[in-house]
Amino acid sequence: MVVERDIRLFFQYKFLIILRAIWFVSQIVLFGLIASRMINVREVPDYFRYYVSGLSIMTLYSAAIFIGFDIYEEAEHGVFEYLLSLPVSRRQLVLGRSIGGGLRSFIYVGPLIAASLFVIGAVNPLNFLVALFALFLFSFGVSGMSITIAVMIKSSDRFDILMGVLDALIVRLSTAMYPLAVVQAANPLYGGVANFNPVSYAADLFRWGTGIESTYFTLANPLLPLLGIIAFFAIFTFVGVTIYDRRIEGGGWQ
């Protein structure tokens, strides 16, 4: 019930969905196409396909973050008290919200991933299913992270700023836009962060699943990024449940 409600809520934001779709398409047909002309083919042989696959992960990340904004909307309109009065335990509520947040972003990004697969081309069915499973966990983890941060800081302004800064850092310090070898060459510190970044794990697994990773790098052991995503999902879902459980009551929302 909680999951269904969150999915319905998301699809009420028609204009936001249209906006994200415009962003995705313009990133592919404008930025992706022109920027790929600027890239040295010896460093990244087919930057266009590399970028399009990373873009799917960036879109998935930003759609999953959105659940945090819903929480502030509910707090502002007093819906929180109504939710607390429902015959659902706090744990069921937050788990449902985390799954709902992840699922709805996945439903939304599904057609965009299909569009990027059309651009990228080849698909290795078995690897792709494993990658898809990892992306499911990734989007649940990002939703859990968004919920955790939202209920911890309880201020929509601060949340908005923090998520913007976090988005700028977590996406740019990942392999979504550039291969790890290039990030490491640019700055070993950046490379270190990119190496332990869930966005990198998701992007690398997606490229591995679609079979295009061999053009840019060799993913020696796909189990490592998969374990990284499982750890990310577990931490933010279960830590999120605990924090949500403790902070949900007592007001203090700004």
């Binding site: 934001y13 028609k14 204009f15 936001l16 249209i18 906006l19 415009i22 962003w23 313009s26 990133q27 404008l30 930025f31 196409l33 022109i34 920027a35 002309r37 600027m38 890239i39 040295n40 083919v41 460093e43 990244v44 930057y47 302004d157 601060r158 908005d160 700023i161 923090l162 913007g164 800064v165 988005d167 700028a168 850092l169 740019r172 310090l173 836009m177 550039y178 290039v182 990030v183 060459a185 640019a186 700055n187 950046y190």
Partner: protein
């Protein structure tokens, strides 16, 4: 004039209420410069490096212009909110003419853009070198004109859209089209080359050529980066035409909506 100054003061006070939001926005811009641009240095083709030395140097002026664009656009969001909450009835009761009110709003949007952009422009000068006094004057005048035009564009969109969602969607469409069809992220010659090969629509190539974001970015580059094509007066003309069109559109659209 005094009435216009009151409006400008009111809007500037509002602007500084969002100081943390501004800090967040600046840090996002700096993340683009100090992470994305530095990593791109290691990926861009030798042709770009030969012309601009590093991608960082190429991108810094473009980033300054995008920062100016985003902050000058903020005034539209406030005006859209005022329209939805019908605050314009209060605005009409103020002891000033409709035209003073409209000019004040466009002017404050432009000044806010310049204030926000100044740390980014300073960062650009620190890393690329300082221009001469005359060049600095030209840069500031052209950027201010552009900020006025952007503020006008944002007000025109804000008063033509009935809801915040529609405003945000329209803003997104304008942002992405103007940002990506410009020389902010990549040299204009690449877009023209793609157009000549038939891989990029001709109207978008023309848009990139006359885009004020391209003109302003390339003008700063022509002053700060050596061995580049000399400064062109066409870039100033593009910005002047853009600003004139949108300042007038905004003033008339704003007056019309106030009187509705």
């Amino acid at each position: 004039m005094k009435a216009i100054m009151h409006i400008v003061e009111h809007d500037l006070r509002n602007f500084f209420r969002y100081k943390w939001w501004l800090v967040g926005l600046i840090s996002m811009n700096l993340a683009d410069l100090f992470i994305m641009a530095i990593v791109y240095n290691y990926m861009v083709s030798s042709a770009v490096i030969a012309q601009y030395d590093t991608y960082f140097k190429f991108f810094a002026p473009g980033l300054t212009v995008t920062g100016l664009f985003a902050s000058a656009f903020m005034i539209g969001r406030e005006i859209n909110m005022e329209r939805r909450r019908e605050v314009h009835h209060y605005m009409l009761s103020l002891p000033m003419t409709r035209m003073e009110l409209a000019i004040g709003r466009v002017l404050s949007g432009g000044i806010r853009g310049m204030i926000y952009m100044s740390p980014l422009l300073l960062t650009c000068f620190v890393f690329l070198g300082f221009p001469t006094v005359w060049e600095l004057l030209v840069i500031l005048i052209v950027l201010f004109l552009m900020a006025l035009g952007i503020s006008g564009l944002s007000i025109a969109i804000a008063v033509s859209t009935a809801s915040l969602e529609k405003f945000i969607t329209a803003r997104g469409l304008v942002y992405y089209t103007l940002f990506f069809c410009s020389s902010v992220f990549y040299p204009l010659s690449l877009i023209q080359q793609l157009g000549a090969e038939g891989k990029f629509p001709a109207p978008l190539v023309i848009l990139a050529e006359v885009n004020p974001l391209s003109s302003a970015s390339d003008m700063i580059r022509s002053f700060l980066l050596p061995d580049l094509p000399a400064f062109s007066y066409t870039s100033i003309l593009n910005v002047v035409v853009f600003s004139a069109i949108f300042i007038l559109s905004a003033a008339f659209a704003y007056i019309k909506i106030l009187e509705r």
